[in-house]
């Protein structure tokens, strides 16, 4: 198990009811963690349309997580 911080934006933040949470997880990749938090918070968007960043850098869903990582979950973007 590792300790990570998850941050949610826009519709994810509203669905989760919070912007930041500390998690102790068995997830080893960003994808694992998304599956875990999306099930708990009811995020409906498929991973293919969302983005993830780890420690302020956009990352692949297959990226490994390590102790202390800050993981940012971005719902589908809609600028303009």
């Amino acid at each position: 198990m590792i300790n990570v911080t998850a941050q949610y934006f826009a519709v994810f933040r509203e669905q989760a009811g919070l912007h930041v949470e500390s998690l102790t997880t068995s997830a080893t990749t960003a994808e694992d963690l998304y599956v875990e938090v999306s099930a708990r918070h009811g995020f409906a968007d498929s991973m293919a349309r969302c983005k993830v960043a780890i420690n302020e850098e956009l990352a692949a869903w297959t990226a490994s997580l390590t102790e202390g990582d800050v993981v940012l979950f971005f719902p589908p973007v809609a600028g303009g």
Binding site: F9, A10, V11, L58, L72, P75, V77, G79, G80
Partner: protein, 149 residues
């Protein structure tokens, strides 16, 4: 070439003036405005949220790609965040180049990429009450349609 997220009102005239170059024969700019309707709903305001550090970085990357693909003399972009009223400018992209073809193509490329890639989100406030986050893939909170803006 630069892109910035800002919470300040955009000034298209001032932004356009910054594109002036003696070698420029063409200037193309795009302004995305807040309109009063979306998918049959009367819209009263829009609220934009961004993750500014990554939005600035991704936006900058798009402008650098445009500089490599197109023979540009100058290019700038700005995207507002916060609450915007009907008619306000939410996004501005402008380029200058020696010839119009390049300027049109580059401006189109930049705004299309910005809308697809930059971590910015838009919430519509409706006259009927509730509000909804817009999904860039479906273009709507509720149905398929052209992406606003």
């Amino acid at each position: 070439m630069s892109f910035e997220i800002t919470d300040q009102r955009l000034d298209p005239d001032a932004l356009k003036n910054a594109l002036t170059r003696e070698a420029a024969g063409a200037c193309v700019s795009f302004e995305g405005w807040v309109r009063d309707h979306s998918d049959g709903e009367a819209v009263t305001a829009l609220e934009y949220e961004a993750h500014a550090p990554l939005a600035n970085k991704e936006g900058q990357q798009i402008f650098e790609e445009a500089a490599e693909r197109f023979d540009l003399l100058a290019a700038f972009g700005r995207h507002r965040v916060g609450r915007l009223e009907i008619g306000e400018c939410a996004v501005w992209v402008g380029v200058s180049a020696a010839h119009r073809g390049v300027a049109f193509d580059a401006c189109r490329y930049i705004i299309d990429e910005l809308k697809q890639r930059v971590p910015i989100w838009k919430k519509e406030h409706y006259r009927s009450g509730p509000s909804g986050w817009i999904n860039s893939v479906t273009g709507s909170a509720s149905a398929d349609r052209e992406t606003p803006s």
